[in-house]
Amino acid sequence: MTVKDMKDALNLRVFAGEGNLGNVIKGGYTSDLLSDVMGHAEANHVWITLQTHKNIMAVASLKELAAIVLVKGYEPDADTLDLAKQEGIPILGTGEEAFETSGRLYGLLHC
């Protein structure tokens, strides 16, 4: 499954990284503690979070994540958006909460 497949299935908004919607998704990780994500997310995971701080881009880049999904209608901070455009890592958004988004992505990947 690609980020574009997920975007279409979950009806996500794309804030940045349109050029890399072909990134392959191998799993997901849901957490709002960046230290935890640095320790436990894996390459090609989708990261589901409400954190909008620019450090999320550094973590996504370090861990070679497929994409970030911001929940609850949160939008990336301006400097986060700039970094996302530079790095080309897709940032997407949804009005749903992390619980629903995680469950739906899990369903897409495993059911």
Binding site: L33, L34, S35, V37, Q51, H53, K54, N55, A58, V59
Partner: protein, 238 residues
């Protein structure tokens, strides 16, 4: 230059997690008893108890700095220290504006009273003080510096409520006056595992919530005068 022992992170009775023994008089006496010449009062998201302690300390030879331990939107704890009564009021207005209106449940979280030197209640903070402000760490930093305060991310070595636990690492462009470490680690040991922070100035403080902890951890500064200016200049020299 005078060598000054300063414990710049102390909670009081007002913080819901602060022990009932953390009264103005007890805190000043405990600090003096430990040989500390300067303390900062840093309750969670409130400055309201600090002026009483500052006044009491002034009469007893203890320099007391007013401040707060601010919780940012990312749930990063940061110390903000200010000099004048006007600055403290500006800081308090900022906290009042951005602290969410979540009612405190004293049974669960503890009481949020501030008191005078005779332990008479002066007021009660209505909203839960351990919530997070609706301001990012950058917005808090910019505000604190705009009013002439000092901004210090708190206990950054801890794996909860710290800039490193919440944001993974210290944003390199964040303008900090110092970084605080808890009692559990020395600057040398911390830098060994976080070499990217080797050029920062570190302080250590007690983060006291109980009276026996006041002044039990401190930073030794070289100051021209034992006051906010002396502290600021000590930071600048580092």
């Amino acid at each position: 230059m005078i060598s000054v022992k300063a414990d710049l992170h102390i909670h009081t009775f007002l913080s819901p997690c602060g022990d009932i023994e953390m009264t103005p008089r007890h805190i000043v006496e405990a600090a003096l008893g430990k040989g500390v010449q300067m303390i900062a009062i840093t309750d969670h998201n409130s400055t309201l108890q600090a002026p009483v302690i500052q006044e009491l300390g002034a009469g007893l030879g203890l320099e007391v700095i007013c401040g707060a331990e601010i919780t940012t939107k990312e749930e990063v704890h940061c110390l903000a220290l200010v000099e004048t009564p006007g600055q403290r009021q500006e800081l308090q207005s900022f906290l009042d504006t951005y602290l969410p209106h979540i009612e405190n449940n004293p049974e669960k979280f503890g009481y949020q009273f501030w008191i005078d030197t005779n332990e008479q209640v002066l007021g009660e903070a209505p909203w839960l003080l351990i919530s997070a402000l609706d301001r990012t760490i950058e917005q808090v930093e910019a505000f604190v510096h705009s009013i002439g305060g000092l901004f210090i991310p708190a206990h950054i070595n801890k794996m909860r409520d710290s800039v490193i636990s919440q944001l993974g690492f210290l944003p390199p462009d964040l303008k900090v006056d110092a970084l605080e470490l808890s009692r559990h680690i020395t600057p040398q040991a911390f830098i060994t595992s976080n070499p990217y922070l080797k050029d920062y100035f570190f302080i250590r403080s007690s983060d006291a919530h109980f009276i026996q902890d006041v002044g039990s951890v401190f930073t030794e500064f070289q100051m021209e005068t034992i006051d906010f200016h002396g502290l600021r200049n000590a930071f600048i020299r580092q």
